[in-house]
């Protein structure tokens, strides 16, 4: 009888380990609901969302909104100018819903194609936003 109980407990332990491993492998999930590039952030909301920005506005914001955040974590906004990484900004996410943004300053020398890669803490790509800076 004891032997049978022992056997069942082994199964339960194995099942628990498997569930824990599955949850770890899956990671703490969150959902990106909004990702926008904009000229400004007003009252926590993106203003003048666009994909082409004149360098005269001096600043560009990348706004991201997440929900279903299970646990505090962080993400990165990686800014690339012509395939060259120029800024990597670490941003915190808190459960259950969190909006966050990063910004860069632009000059005339920054005219050209850009992209922002939104990646998780492990470097996994979540989303890409593409834009251009013009005169």
């Amino acid at each position: 009888m004891e032997l049978i109980v022992e056997k069942n407990s082994h199964i339960k332990v194995s099942l628990m380990v498997f569930i824990l491993f599955f949850l770890y492998a899956k990671g703490f999930s969150y959902q990106l609901t909004t990702a926008k590039l904009c000229e400004d952030i007003v009252n926590g909301q993106p203003k003048y969302s666009s994909v082409v920005f004149p360098y005269s506005i001096k600043k560009i914001y990348c706004y991201t909104l997440f929900d279903q955040i299970e646990k505090e974590t962080f993400i990165y906004h990686q800014w690339y100018f012509k395939d060259k990484l120029v800024a990597k900004i670490k941003l915190k996410l808190k459960p259950p819903v969190w909006a966050t943004f990063s910004r860069i300053y632009i000059r005339e020398t920054d005219i050209g194609p850009w992209r922002v890669e939104i990646v998780d803490e492990n470097g996994n790509l979540i989303h890409i936003l593409r834009f251009s800076v013009v005169k």
Binding site: S49, V51, V52, D83, G112, P113, R115, R130, S132, V134
Partner: protein
């Protein structure tokens, strides 16, 4: 030796053959027009001087060569000035074609010879002095003076009556030309020779004088002794019978008899061959003898056997070659005539150094490489792979102040790009050609091409990318 001949003859073009033929014909015409005249002898002397000059130049006798050059220049002027009458006589020929293609210019028809010979010997029997001029190839007009124009057919009676009469015409010479008696009572130049026989009178001196300055033949009948003589080329020969005179006249006028004609034909053919050979030798001396140097920038061509690797870079890709060879060929040579190629042995990705030697260079025959700069090139090979890359629009220009381009959709938004592995590794986006935003004020759609590195190509048959853009005014909520 065979190789050298091959090099020389393989570089001859149709243009060169034409060049040789034209100059050969010019030389042949000079021979035909001037042969037997004093000019011809002067020209022979000039040619000998030229040969001496070339020889001294070739052997490095600098001063001799310069002096020869000076003498040739002066000699040319002397010939032109000294023989101006003869030259004018040739150039004043009635038919311009005579200068270019006629072999013999006949001054008198052969049908008239009988009357002429009969009259000469008739005058001889009667001891009546006579001077009859039969021009050769050149005109006698520059050397004679006076005379009365007759322009009559050659008839025995007429010739005899001119010389037998006591009128003013009997004392001069008659000129026979174009089957006619052109002039009578013509005054001939007197010879200034001092070693002439004592029995030579003024008539002899006149006949000799004209024959010294031109190629005319002068028939002379002595008044004192009744002898018949001919003066030609500065000499006098006595003629004893009609047959001899007939032969000499035929020879002077150009015999139409078959054997004689054939002889002339062979003689001229031989002269033409000699002219061709002389011109060919001179042509080769000029064009192939003088060597020179030239430098040329030639692009490097890489020949690879495998399609799995791509040439990423060749450093440098242009090589400066210093070449030597005949000046004429060097002058006309361009980088298109020279191939500089490297056959790749290595087929694996990597960087390789190759030495450029003469074996890598293909040159026109007769040309050699003296220097290769630089003589070593660096070739970078890479493996060919495919990568799926997103397409991004490259916006340029000045955006209108109140315009917001809120969204862009690209179709296709990704393309498979084929190219060198290391190059593709550094690329994460493929950009479109530049799209100008200046005039954009409302949503629309455009079609643009892709801007690719020359080493890359798109796998799909994608020529144009559709770009759909959405515009919003800033005033709008």
């Amino acid at each position: 030796m065979n190789k050298l001949l091959n090099i020389i003859f393989s570089t001859i073009t149709v243009k060169d053959v034409l060049d040789i033929l034209i100059n050969s014909y010019i030389l042949f015409r000079i021979y035909v027009l001037f042969y037997g005249t004093a000019i011809f002898r002067a020209l022979i002397g000039l040619v000998l001087l030229f040969v001496c000059q070339r020889f001294s130049s070739y052997t490095g006798l600098v001063m001799t060569s310069y002096i020869m050059q000076g003498i040739i220049t002066v000699a040319l002027f002397v010939i032109i000035i000294g023989f101006r009458h003869e030259l004018r006589g040739i150039l004043q020929t009635k038919k311009i074609g005579d200068i270019f293609w006629r072999v013999k210019i006949k001054r008198i028809k052969k049908s008239n010879l009988h009357d002429l010979i009969e009259s000469v010997f008739s005058l001889s029997e009667k001891k009546v002095g006579a001077l009859i001029v039969i021009p050769g190839k050149n005109s006698v007009n520059p050397f004679v003076s006076g005379g009365t124009k007759i322009d009559s057919l050659i008839r025995q009676e007429l010739i005899e009556s001119i010389f037998m009469s006591k009128g003013p015409l009997h004392d001069g010479a008659i000129i026979l030309e174009d089957g006619k008696i052109k002039k009578a009572g013509v005054v001939l130049p007197l010879s200034e020779k001092e070693d002439l026989p004592a029995y030579y009178g003024t008539r002899h001196r006149a006949a000799l004088g004209l024959s010294e300055v031109c190629d005319a033949l002068v028939i002379l009948v002595s008044e004192e002794r009744g002898t018949v003589s001919i003066a030609i080329g500065g000499e006098i020969f006595q003629i004893y019978d009609k047959k001899d005179l007939h032969l000499i006249l035929n020879s002077h006028l150009g015999d139409t008899a078959k054997n004689k004609s054939n002889k002339d034909y062979i003689s001229y053919s031989f002269a033409a061959i000699i002219c061709f050979l002389i011109v060919s030798v001179v042509w080769f001396t000029f064009t192939r003898g003088q060597t020179s140097f030239a430098s040329l920038n030639v692009p490097v061509e890489i020949m690879k056997r495998s399609s799995n690797v791509e040439i990423v870079s060749t450093t440098p890709n242009i090589i400066k070659l210093t070449l030597t060879g005949p000046r004429v060929i060097l002058r006309s040579i361009t980088k298109n005539d020279v191939d500089l190629f490297v056959k790749l042995k290595d087929q694996e990705p990597g960087t390789y150094l190759y030495d450029i030697t003469e074996k890598n260079i293909s040159l026109p025959p007769g040309i050699k490489v003296v220097k290769i700069d630089p003589s070593r090139i660096r070739i970078k090979l890479d493996k060919i792979t495919t990568k799926l890359l997103p397409v991004q629009v490259d916006w340029v220009g000045k955006l209108q102040k109140d315009v917001l381009i809120t969204d862009v959709r690209v179709l296709p938004d990704k393309v498979h790009v084929i190219g060198p592995k290391t190059l593709l590794k550094s690329i994460s986006t493929i950009y479109t050609e530049k799209v100008i935003v200046d005039d954009i004020n409302k949503s629309g759609e455009i079609s643009v091409g892709l801007k690719l590195d020359p080493a890359l190509r798109v796998k799909e048959q994608v020529k144009r990318i559709k770009v759909k853009y959405f515009v919003k005014k800033k005033e709008e909520p």
